[in-house]
């Protein structure tokens, strides 16, 4: 899982440039991943009721607007800063 991805990434990045020392992280990363995966399977600390999907909800069509306000050029960011589009339970500023 994590460790395998890390290894693949390291091989890709360093294929043409010297020794991939970063691969040495695979051991510790693998150990941590195994620990957390098992711990969560036993303790289920990450689970809760998905009321957003498992409740009877009737919504009218969503309305709104999308004015363009800016452009960004040549950014290395892979997504908008602070992307929380899927973090439904993360509260943001409450408007009156």
């Amino acid at each position: 899982m994590n460790a395998a991805l890390l290894a693949a990434y390291a091989v890709e990045v360093h294929a043409e440039s010297g020794t991939p020392w970063v691969l040495l992280l695979a051991g510790p990363a693998g150990a941590v991943a195994v620990y957390w995966t098992l711990f969560r399977y036993y303790r289920n600390t990450d689970k809760s009721h998905s009321f957003e999907r498992e409740t009877l909800i009737e919504a009218m069509p969503v309305t709104g607007q999308d004015p363009k306000i800016d452009t960004v050029r040549g950014t290395e960011r892979r997504e908008v800063r602070g992307n929380n589009v899927s973090e439904h339970r993360q509260r943001v500023q409450r408007l009156p």
Partner: protein
């Protein structure tokens, strides 16, 4: 209390008693009191016997004397009436969900083991153990009781079925479980308990605004070791509005149970086995509780409003998500507004089979549960782990990976 008439009324749904009256405060209260039980004694309609209990296989009450079976009326039509949820305005509170006052109908006892407040039916000798930690309860720890709920959803998963679910859940988690848990595992100790919830209908509108980005170009800059991928994007201000109704949102109405922090308690386990088919809940009759324990509600409507609004906001955010799919670089929501036009509150007992295990590790006590939804059989739990075994497994995996890597590097 007056004695029940010698010819008891048949227990059919009598909706005419569910009159809607305006309380002094102006909050409409829907009376859900079960009129034919108003002498406080539950009797069989056919023979007058008081030996009544739930027959789980049919979901009906059964008279143990003459085998007469019946069920109470569904609560939903009594409370909801004809109107659509979209027309719901103000705060409508069913009579069992009104603010709590001391009531001596049943006995609430405070557990000296874990501090839980447990309601016991005084006629039942079997329910004198705490369903959370199985401590014996003693009468001198009585505290003022909470109100009788509007409705109850009877158990339909039998004890044997629950035991099977719990066994299976634990068997799959044997290898790394704490040895003492494995040794002491006694699924037969499962108890059936009715937990208190507020079931809430809402009519609301939500607004969210933020910033979204659409990728317009992806290219590489630099050469050799400095090569990196960069992006161009259009930035939009995103505003969304949605009107919605939410039917039967279910909130824990025991403050203790509603407090969820997975690292100091395991209450999230009980939350995870939701939802229940609350549409099938029936008008309150204490006979449904015979053989089970229950927990008192200690939160009033006002105390639960923040949690309701929080969940409604989460629902709004979830509802608008599909409308912002074009923002392939995501959206940063910055502000949100909720306008609640109307809510309707019904207090309800929902059925849960609980297997609890009190675990004290290094002075940190924690009660672990395996809980089974008493209607759907959905099972969730928390099993104490053997840190020693877990760490060993992690180290072994890490060592194997590391040796492979070192071997690879050696060949480089």
């Amino acid at each position: 209390m007056t004695a029940h008439g010698s010819a008891p009324e048949p227990p059919i749904a009598d909706t005419s008693t569910a009159q809607q009256r305006e309380a002094d405060a102006g909050t409409p209260v829907v009376d859900t009191a079960n009129a034919w039980l108003d002498d406080g004694v539950n009797r069989c309609a056919r023979c007058g016997s008081t030996e009544i209990q739930l027959r789980v296989s049919t979901g009906h009450l059964v008279c143990l004397f003459c085998r007469h079976e019946w069920t109470e009326a569904h609560i939903e039509p009594l409370v909801a009436g004809e109107g659509s949820l979209r027309d719901l305005t103000g705060t409508v509170i069913a009579s069992g969900a009104t603010d709590l006052v001391a009531d001596d109908g049943m006995l609430t006892m405070k557990c000296s083991g874990c501090g839980a407040e447990v309601v016991v039916n005084t006629a039942e000798a079997t329910s004198s153990r705490c369903h959370w930690c199985r401590h014996l309860l003693t009468v001198n720890e009585q505290v003022p009781n909470g109100a009788v709920p509007d409705a109850v959803l009877p158990f339909s998963v039998t004890r044997d079925q629950a035991v099977e679910h719990i066994k299976l859940f634990a068997q799959k988690r044997r290898t790394f479980a704490h040895r003492r848990f494995v040794k002491e595992f006694t699924p037969g100790n499962v108890v059936g308990v009715y937990l208190p919830y507020m079931v809430v209908d809402s009519n609301a509108s939500g607004d969210v605004h933020g910033v979204g980005e659409v990728e317009t170009r992806q290219y590489t800059r630099g050469t050799g070791d400095n090569k990196r991928t960069v992006y161009d994007a259009d930035v939009h201000r995103v505003e969304r509005h949605v009107d919605l109704t939410v039917d039967d949102l279910t909130l824990e109405s025991s403050t203790e149970r509603a407090h969820m922090n997975a690292f100091v308690n395991t209450n999230n386990v009980i939350n995870t086995i939701l939802p229940f088919d609350t549409k099938n809940a029936v008008q309150w009759n204490a006979s449904y509780l015979v053989g089970y324990t229950s927990e008192r509600r200690d939160a009033d409507v006002a105390a639960l409003v923040p949690e309701l609004e929080d969940q409604l906001l989460s629902i709004v955010r979830s509802q608008v998500q599909s409308s912002v799919k074009t923002y392939d670089r995501g959206v940063r929501w910055e502000g949100e507004r909720l306008e609640v036009h109307g809510t309707r509150w019904v207090s309800m007992y929902l059925p849960v089979w609980l297997y609890s295990y009190y675990h004290d590790e290094g002075g940190t006590p924690m009660v672990h549960y395996i809980a089974v939804n008493g209607r759907t059989g959905e099972t969730m739990g928390s099993v104490p782990v053997s840190q020693w075994r877990l760490v060993t497994a992690a180290l072994v995996t890490g060592t194997v990976l590391e040796s492979i890597v070192i071997a690879m590097l050696g060949l480089w």
